[in-house]
């Protein structure tokens, strides 16, 4: 598969703060690539670097297998942080400026305004827009001229639930047409719903990357208790799907690698001669899982 973006060992330091630390990424054509991390993990710095807004202290990157240039940026549509437009100009004129820079004609402007639901407001000044509308205009500007790559930094930030759903649907439908998408988010749920691949960042370092289904795979856990707590601990380790155990004074929390059903588990212990006094399945929230992933790497 064609490589769209390769980032090689980039580092960026702001004074004492190491914003990005020896980061490497590879994004292939057609992927919806999520960059996931808490606030301040280096997501925006990474995106700003690959868009040449800031210069990395170390490392380099290539777009479409070539050295980055203004020509490569013309093939990329981006929403970075806040929507940046001239407040006294209408969205139509603001988008004409974008089209001029990208060497497009103005034929696509109406389409992206309709797509983002701003067509009726195309002649009002940008400063009269609500934050959600401003954010949607940023998305419209990124979509202008059907770019080969779409870079979205927290695209649903500050939107109401309807707006979030709308933008997510839009992203998914664009992705289904084969456009490569790079999406930064601190919302695990967003990455899971939209992305095919993910890299998890914390404090500027990449913790791991891969397919979303693998990296964010969730193993269920069970709370178990028995009068014979010691016996329970020994037996549970013999379970074929056993992963790890977190004991406490009167019960244990067991993690399994694969999906395990409560009744199977009950039967398993019964056959091994352990009578359970407590059996409770615990579904971890995605956020909890994410925090645990970050915790493991401290």
């Amino acid at each position: 598969m064609e490589t769209i973006l390769s980032v090689n060992n980039i580092s960026k330091r702001y004074g004492k703060i190491q914003a990005v630390n020896d980061l490497s990424l590879e994004v292939k054509k057609g992927q919806v690539f999520g960059i996931l991390g808490p606030n301040g993990s280096g997501k925006t710095t990474t995106l700003s670097t690959i868009l040449e807004l800031i210069r990395a202290n170390k490392g380099d990157f290539q777009w479409f297998g070539e050295e980055p240039s203004k020509e490569s940026r013309k093939r990329i549509g981006s929403v970075i942080e806040s929507p940046n437009f001239f407040p006294y100009l209408s969205p139509a004129i603001n988008l004409k400026i974008v089209a001029d820079i990208k060497d497009h004609d103005y034929g696509d402007i109406d389409r992206v305004l309709i797509l983002t639901g701003l067509y009726e407001r195309r002649n009002s000044r940008f400063k009269t827009f609500s934050f959600g509308m401003k954010q949607r205009l940023a998305v419209a500007s990124a979509l202008l001229g059907n770019p080969d790559v779409l870079i979205l930094d927290e695209p649903t930030n500050g939107l109401d639930p309807q707006g979030i759903a709308h933008i997510r649907e839009l992203i998914l439908s664009i992705a289904s047409q084969g456009t490569t998408i790079i999406l930064a988010s601190h919302l695990l749920d967003e990455v899971q719903k939209i992305c095919s691949h993910v890299a998890v960042l914390d404090k500027g370092k990449k913790l791991f990357d891969g397919k979303v289904s693998e990296v964010l795979a969730i193993s269920d856990s069970f709370e178990l208790a028995s009068h014979d707590l010691e016996g329970l601990k020994k037996v549970v380790a013999q379970h074929p799907a056993f992963q790890s155990i977190t004991p406490s004074s009167d019960q244990i929390l067991v993690y399994f690698k694969d999906e395990v059903k409560a009744e199977e588990l009950n039967q398993f212990f019964f056959l091994k001669g352990i009578i359970l006094s407590h059996l409770s399945e615990r579904k971890r929230s995605l956020e909890q899982h994410f925090l645990e992933l970050l915790d493991d790497n401290k």
């Binding site: 700003s48 807004l53 806040s82 437009f85 407040p87 400026i97 001029d100 060497d103």
Partner: protein, 276 residues
């Protein structure tokens, strides 16, 4: 070139502050020019009270001297400050609205961004110079009795000098805008430098006690304003013993143009170095 100017045109055509400041500029400019003769003669009148032989009233709007006089009155700090502020506002706006970031993200290089602002300055300077030439022609034609083609063009080099003045003054403003990036701060420091810091430096450097040779001509703003140093009023020569300039000197234009090139170079270097 056309592409970048097309983008700049979109940024300013419906921008009210731009048109208000440009409008104020032309109001101040035409008011200054039309009041000049009256005010000079007022001064002459008050001087005459103390003189045994009165100085005759002056006329300044006739060919060929009208070129030099208009160029002089249009090169006064208080008038030039308007287009300079326009430039500062247009440049610092890009940083305030973060549209410079967005332009670069969308595929404009930093060099192109700087070029677009320089082209805008060039266009504004040409437009103002053109309008001023038309005004001067009308003023000259209606105040000169014996007109010949040669007479009309004789001192027209001053209008070229004015072009260098307005161009380099705006580039000086561009320098402040790009380096400071903040509208209020840029306007404050620019005004402070032009009206206070440099005049103080000027008197300091001019004094023969400090430097044997007068190096005050090399101060950036002074070098810009000195292109048309005095109005062409013969009485000044008689009364004050000033040496009136005959034409715009090439060397006098070179100093501000050299500063402009240097400042554009520094801005470009800083733009490349600094994160957006």
């Amino acid at each position: 070139m056309i592409k970048l100017l097309k983008i700049e045109a979109k940024k300013i055509l419906t921008y009210k502050i731009f048109w208000i400041l440009i409008g104020l500029y032309f109001i101040f400019l035409s008011a200054g020019i039309s009041m000049a003769e009256f005010m000079i003669n007022n001064m002459v009148d008050s001087t005459n009270r103390h003189l045994p032989i009165p100085i005759p009233h002056v006329a300044i709007y006739f060919f060929p001297w009208v070129w030099q006089n208009i160029a002089f009155f249009a090169s006064i700090r208080y008038v030039l400050i308007f287009p300079a502020m326009v430039i500062i506002i247009l440049i610092t706006n890009e940083f305030t609205f973060k549209t410079i970031r967005q332009n670069v993200i969308n595929g404009m290089s930093k060099a192109e961004f700087l070029a677009s602002k320089l082209q805008l300055i060039l266009l504004i300077s040409l437009a103002i110079t053109f309008l001023l030439s038309i005004g001067t022609l009308i003023l000259g034609l209606s105040n000169t009795s014996d007109i010949s083609f040669g007479l009309v063009l004789e001192k027209s080099s001053f209008i070229f000098g004015f072009f260098v003045t307005i161009l380099s003054f705006q580039i000086f403003a561009l320098f402040f805008g790009f380096l400071l990036r903040n509208t209020g701060l840029s306007i404050a420091l620019f005004t402070l430098y032009v009206f206070i810091v440099e005049p103080i430096l000027y008197y300091f450097l001019k004094s023969p006690i400090v430097f044997k040779n007068d190096i005050s001509t090399y101060l950036p703003v002074n070098s810009i304003l000195r292109i048309t140093e005095y109005p062409a009023i013969p009485v000044l020569k008689q009364v004050m013993g000033l040496n009136l300039q005959d034409s715009v000197s090439f060397l006098a234009c070179c100093i501000p143009l050299f500063y402009s090139a240097l400042m554009v170079g520094i801005v470009y270097w800083v733009l490349l170095k600094r994160d957006l």
